[in-house]
Amino acid sequence: MRLTVVLIALMTLLPAALTNGHDDHAHHHDPHHWENAEMRHDLLTQLGGMAVLGAVAGSYLLVRRRTST
């Protein structure tokens, strides 16, 4: 019951908060995220980081498998 009350409050307030945020952005004429070079740079940087993490984890697993057999 308490959870339902909290959820109703959240669901009522958050859309309003999100809409206000959008209006502020529109007022300052910020570029949309798909037009933003900084956004692409951030996504590509994180993808690079994940690739490095994957390579390190893969190498570790490979070495561990070889040493255990």
Binding site: L3, L7, W34, E38, Q46, L47, M50
Partner: protein, 255 residues
Amino acid sequence: MRRSLFALMKLSFLEAVRRQILHVMVLLSLVVMAIAGTVSFFDLGVQVKIVKDTGMVMILLAGSLSIVFLLSGALFHDVEQRIVYPVLARPIPRGLYLVARYFGALAAVYAGMTLMAITLVVLLWTHLHYISGLAVVAIAFTYLEVALVGALAMLLSTFFTPAMTATLALFLYLLGSLKMGYLHHLAERNTGFAKWAITAVSAALPNMEAFRFKDALVHDLSVPAGYLVLVAIYGICYLATCIALSVWNFGRREV
């Protein structure tokens, strides 16, 4: 192995669809969307924008909150109520159990989101008599965003208690949404250790803003296809990383 995966996924799905939180979320969202779509205060152009805006926000909110609340306590309760022991006593890897738990709950949330998406499409069809391709794209990326939030909650649930997981997941989700607009500016304004710490936190946080194409849908703007592909690859890779880390941590943990 595949049979075990589907059997566990089915169990997880059935458990999730019986949870009251999912029913409340879907029902509330449908009511809000129906009110936005039927109560007419404005001319048609403004009314359609309100329907698109409200619909997309409600699908995202209901999906994100549902998946966080469903997954934050899933593993913890399985261990506490000893449900996990008879399953893991069979030749089923822990990783498979975790993946099935995740995809089962995600399927239940997707079922609710699909109901909301159909409502949005019907409302748009009633007002406009056509559906733009961008509506499908925006909804698809909302699905991907919800899957990512779920993977984040799953990862946190292998480390923390349900209450802590839900709070942290929602906090990180909010921070991830403010990453470009707030954290980057905050890092630029600080120096020394504070700048380094904010940059480090920002580098690890998922970029949630990248999945939101609500503005493009509401204002009928075009989005480059290359950017959509980049965001899709990013979302899938981040999700896979979270699941891999969850499997690793759940595998080494004592249950």
